[in-house]
């Protein structure tokens, strides 16, 4: 079997199965954990769970003024590569076709040149994120293998995708095969590393919001 056939076939299949199993496992394990009920009385005018958690999720999308300066780079650069990745994944026609195969729905894509431009910006933004992590003494001190692995596993699809559309280095079918394999690796890593924040931040922020709202505070 050729590399591309393996990538499009068994590799993606394995990746998607592990992703599906892993995400369900982690979410179920987390949400079904026994919880200690808060026996204190809620403050007056405490908003409901949905409003409190929703409010906190939105509030934390931008840092508080006191922390704005210290976190400016991470916030802005973070948005750049997150939005970039979203535009590439959900706006690039080949990716839309991949998702159509999975979900049965599709939508119009963006011109290839725009996607390529966004991919270059995303690539640079991810490099900047790594450099920042390595240069900041605090971040470097607290960074673990999990962080670096997550960075590599996110960067590889961007790099291999750019190589594939530019037909650089190897024959196209090899580049495409490698790109799809990198997605399989991404999917396998996703539930067990820092990428799981994609689901967990909503749970964490929501929980914090509800908890604080119960005590009549907002942070």
């Amino acid at each position: 079997m050729e590399l591309l056939d393996f990538a499009r076939g068994p590799a993606l299949q394995f990746g998607l199965y592990v992703f599906s199993f892993g995400v369900a496992f982690r979410l179920a394990a987390l949400l079904l954990l026994p919880r200690t009920k808060d026996l204190s009385k809620a403050r007056a005018n405490t908003p409901g769970v949905i409003k409190a958690s929703g409010r906190e999720i939105i509030r934390r999308m931008w840092p508080q003024p006191a922390y704005a300066e210290a976190t400016r780079f991470t916030t802005i650069n973070g948005y750049i590569f997150h939005l970039g990745l979203a535009i590439i994944v959900f706006g690039g026609t080949p990716h839309i076709l991949f998702l159509k195969g999975l979900l049965g729905i599709s939508w119009p894509g963006l011109p290839t040149n725009i996607i390529n431009g966004v991919a270059v910006i995303t690539f640079l933004s991810l490099i900047a994120a790594l450099v920042h992590r390595l240069q900041s003494p605090v971040l470097k001190a607290i960074s673990t293998a999990n962080d670096y692995t997550t960075w590599i596993v996110t960067m590889l699809p961007v790099v291999t995708g750019l190589l594939a559309v530019s037909h650089l280095g190897w024959r196209y079918e090899t580049l495409l095969g490698v790109h799809i394999l990198s997605i399989a690796v991404f999917l396998v890593w996703f539930p067990f590393g820092k990428l799981m924040h994609a689901f967990l931040i909503f749970l964490a922020r929501g929980e914090t919001g509800t908890h604080l709202a119960h005590r009549g505070a907002q942070l």
């Binding site: 056939d5 076939g9 199965y17 199993f21 892993g22 496992f25 954990l33 026609t93 076709l97 159509k100």
Partner: protein, 356 residues
Amino acid sequence: MREHNTLGQTLQERGISRRAFLKYASYLATLMALPPSASRVIAEEMAKAHRQSVIWLSFQECTGCTESFTRSMSPTLEDLIFDFISLDYHHTLQAVSGAAAEHAREAAMKANKGKYIVVVDGSVPLKDGGVYSTIAGITNLDMLRDTAKDAFAIVSVGTCSAFGGIPHANPNPTGAVAISEIIKDKPVINIPGCPPIPEAMTGTLAYLLSFGKLPELDASHRPLAFFGETIHDRCYRRSFYERGMFADSFDDEGARKGWCLYKVGCKGPIAYNACATLKWNGAVSFPIQSGHGCLGCSEPDFWDKGGFYKPLSAATAGLTLGVGGAALAGAAAGAAGAELVRRKKAAAANAGKKEG
């Protein structure tokens, strides 16, 4: 049989001047991307050469390759190939049959020992001793090995002989294999395609005749002159691909406007062939121009690449049940894990109560 006359003398006797060689050589040089200066050399060498003995073996095939070969659309020029080669054995085209045909083959092999070219179309079945395809009681495997013994080169025409092709497709009930899996001690040129473009076959044979050596081949033993670029690289619809203008389905607005066929499964980006430049039926058209995506028929296992209408970027395995099942299994495992924690906690609480 080995002819005593050179090709130049043979055509001379028919009143065809050396200019015919020069014209054919120019045509060949253009086809195979050789410099124009090569045409004079080719013409001289061809005129001095003797008719090339060719033994054509047909195994597990549909005869499409022979049809393509004889359907060349520059007949006055390409007819010349039938003057340049002596087709000493070919099931479909030869007049004799039965034992006489096999004798003809053996005689040609003997007379042209070390110099004849074996052209093969069709794959060779290996399962159950090779009984699924035999000729005159001889299995394809035996006939191939026997005929290839004293050959100068083997040319596998068509995807079946080059890579196994359709017989090789899942589940491959006859154990079909490519010629190159069997012949390891002779040079093998692959000219895949289902069928191959006529000029790819005739051009390669003419090159062998003129230069007496193999043309430049890629890693899959395909002549670079015809298989060096993908359909995508030379497709006239490429600008639509770049601009993100695709046909969403056959006969929709995009399809009618001639937009890119990526979404309806075109395998152009990974198919190496000359269809986009040489085209078919005398440069009239090719699949994409006619509105259908490339099947990738010159690639190995093109039949098993997930379907002709599945885009290159889509997963090929059937996933819905598996992904759903995996999610359920994950949720169950998570619940089991949470339950374990719950019990541990309860046990600790009980132990605490007992102590307290």
